[in-house]
Subunit: 345 residues, 2 copies
C-alpha cells in the first residue's frame, strides 16, 4: 500500500473571516505530503469541486445550520473524486465517489468520518462528473426536495424561481414543468434568459437586469405566484411577495443578494402579503432529506436519460483559481452550476 507515496496535496485554507466579499488575503495556500490511509480509511483524489453560495455562510463566525469553517482549516467543499487507495471494504481503488473533501487535491477520509463527509460511490453511467455536482448532486437534491416537499406544487400552478440559470434554479424550473406547472424564471441578462426558455423549456424568464421584476411577474403570472422558490432574497423576494397568489408557498433556499452585506440583512418588507394571501414562507436545508437522496437521484437520472432534463455547468480549471472562481457566484457571472475542475485525470 503505497498509493500516496510522493504525492503532494495542494490545499486552500481559510486564513481569516471575510468582511463583505471574500478577498485574496482571506485565503492561504498550503502544500502537504499525502499521508497513507490507515485501517478503514480511503484516499480520494479530487476531480472537481462544487462552488456554491452557501460557502459564504460557512466562512462566517457562529453556527448556522452547520459549523463554520475554522480559521486555518481547509475550506469546506463537496467534490467528486476517485478512490486512489482503500482500506475500507465498501470502496475499491478506481471508484468514483462523492464526498465533502474540502478544497484540496487529496483527502484521506477515515471510517469514522465517512458519514459526516457524505462519502458514497457514484454511478458514472447516470451522469458526468460535473452533473454529479449539479443535477445529481446537492443542487439537484435541493431543487427536488425544496420544490416538491416544501413548495408542494399542484398541476397547473405557477412556479417562479430566481437564479433560474444557476445550479438549483435550472432544475427547479424543469421539474416544475415535468410536474405540470407553469415555470417562470428570473435571471440576469438575455443569454441566461434565452437559455432558460429556449433550451430548458421554461414558459418565461424575467431579466432582472433589464427592468422591473414586479412588472415581469405581472406580465407572466396572470394568476399570481403559487410557488416562489427563492435563491436570492432582497428586492426580488419582495417582488414575488407582492404577486403571491392566495395560499402561495415561498421556499427559502438562499439569499445570495444578501450574503456579502456588511450591514444588516434586508428583510422582506412585503411579508404581510403572507397574511393577506394566507400564504407561507418556509426554509429548508437539503441535508435533512439525505435518506431520500437515492430515490431523488434515481428519478432525476431517469429524466436526464430520457432527455426531459438538461443541465449546464460552468467549469473553471485549477485549484489555484478557487478564490477568484468563487467570486463569480456573487457577481452573477456563472452561467449554470459553477464547478472547479481540479484535475481531468
Amino acid at each position: 500500500m503505497s498509493a500516496s507515496q510522493d504525492l503532494t496535496n495542494r490545499q486552500v485554507r481559510l486564513a481569516r473571516r471575510p468582511v463583505g466579499l471574500p478577498q485574496a488575503d482571506d485565503w492561504s495556500f498550503t502544500t502537504e505530503t499525502v499521508r497513507e490511509p490507515g485501517e478503514g480509511a480511503v484516499l480520494v483524489k479530487t476531480l472537481a469541486l462544487s462552488l456554491e453560495p452557501a460557502m459564504r455562510g460557512w466562512m462566517n463566525e457562529g453556527r448556522s445550520y452547520i459549523e463554520p469553517v475554522g480559521i486555518g482549516e481547509v475550506m469546506r467543499a463537496g467534490a467528486i473524486g476517485r478512490v486512489m487507495a482503500s482500506l475500507h471494504p465498501r470502496f475499491r481503488e478506481g471508484d468514483l465517489v462523492s464526498a465533502m473533501t474540502g478544497v484540496q487535491e487529496y483527502a484521506v477520509i477515515e471510517e469514522a468520518q465517512m458519514r459526516k463527509a457524505g462519502l458514497f460511490a457514484i454511478d458514472p453511467g447516470a451522469g458526468s462528473v460535473t452533473q454529479w455536482l449539479n443535477v445529481l448532486g446537492m443542487p439537484g437534491m435541493t431543487a427536488y426536495f425544496g420544490l416538491l416537499d416544501v413548495g408542494q406544487p399542484r398541476e397547473g400552478d405557477t412556479v417562479v424561481v430566481s437564479g433560474a440559470a444557476g445550479a438549483v434554479g435550472q432544475t427547479v424550473g424543469q421539474l416544475a414543468k415535468i410536474k405540470g406547472c407553469r415555470a417562470v424564471g428570473i435571471a440576469g441578462g438575455p443569454a441566461k434568459c434565452d437559455w432558460v426558455v429556449n433550451e430548458l423549456g421554461f414558459d418565461a424568464c424575467i431579466d432582472y437586469k433589464a427592468g422591473s421584476v414586479r412588472d415581469g411577474l405581472k406580465a407572466h403570472c396572470p394568476k399570481g405566484v403559487d410557488v416562489y422558490f427563492d435563491n436570492v432574497g432582497g428586492e426580488i423576494l419582495d417582488a414575488a411577495l407582492a404577486k403571491l397568489a392566495r395560499g402561495g408557498r415561498i421556499v427559502i433556499c438562499g439569499a445570495i443578494s444578501q450574503y456579502n452585506n456588511t450591514g444588516p440583512m434586508q428583510g422582506p418588507k412585503n411579508y404581510m402579503s403572507l397574511l393577506v394571501n394566507r400564504a407561507r414562507m418556509q426554509g429548508m436545508v437539503v441535508f435533512d432529506y439525505a435518506e431520500r437522496f437515492p430515490q431523488a437521484v434515481a428519478e432525476l437520472a431517469g429524466y436526464l436519460r430520457e432527455g426531459r432534463l438538461k443541465s449546464r455547468e460552468d467549469v473553471v480549471h485549477g485549484i489555484e483559481n478557487f478564490p477568484h472562481a468563487l467570486l463569480k457566484l456573487f457577481r452573477g457571472e456563472n452561467f449554470g452550476k459553477l464547478v472547479l475542475e481540479v484535475t481531468s485525470a
Copy 2:
C-alpha cells in the same frame, strides 16, 4: 311596526384616508333618522363595538384581504347589538346578535347582507356582551384557529405571543397552557405583565418597554421558540426569529407596530432563521374559518364556564369617543380587548 319611529342614529364616517396615525379630521360625524326595516330585514341597536388594529388597514386605499372602507362611508366595525325590530323569521325583537354594524347607533341589515355582515344570534348565557366581542368573538376565533390550525402546537412546546395582554394574545397564551404548552407573553409595562402571569397563568411575560426582548426570550425559552404568534411585527418579530427552535412556526396575525408607518414596512431582517431552523412563517385571516366558529365558540365557552379561561376588556364609553379610543390601540394604552360601549340599555 314602528320600532324605529323618531330614532336618530349617530354615525362615524371615514372623511379621508389617514397618513400615519388617524387624526380627528379623518372622521366625520353624521346623524340620520333610522329607517323602517323592510321585508326580511332586522333593525339592530348597537350595544358595544369592537375596536381593533385591523381597522387601520381598512382605512387604507387598495384591497387587502377585505375591501377598504370608502370615503364618506360609515366606518366598518363589529358589534354586539339588540334586535329592535325584525321582519326576518330567524330573529326576534330582543335577541342579542353579533354583526358588522359599523360605527353607528343603529343598523338596518337586509336579508341579502346578513351573510356578509356576519349576523348571528348570541347566547347571553355563554358570556357577557364584551366577552362576545373578545374571547367568544373575532379575537377569540383568531387566537383559536391561528394557534391551533396554523401554529400547530404540540404538548411541551414553547409558545410565545406578542400583544399578550391584548384581545388575541390573552386567549392565545391561555389556550397554549390548556393544550399543555409553555406560554410566554410579550407585553408593555409591569401591570400587563403581572396580569398575564398572575391572573392568566402564563409561565412568563417579557416587558418590551423594560429591556431587550431578545434577552427575555433567551431567559424564558431555554429550548427556543416553537410557536411564535405575532401581533406586532417590527423588532419583536426579529427577536422571535432569532430564538426560533428547529421546525418552529410563526403565525402572522398582525403587525401593529407597522400600521401607522408613513415610510415602508420594516421587513423581518432575521428571516433567514427560517432556513437555518427549517421553520415556517404563515399568515392567517380569521374569516376563512367561519364555518368552524360555532365549534370554537363552544369549546372556549366551556373553558370560560370552567374558569380555565379568563378575559379582560378595556371599555370606553360613548360613540363620540371612537376616534380617540381607537388611538389607544396604536399607543399600546389598552389593557385587554378594547371595546367601545355605545349604550348600556
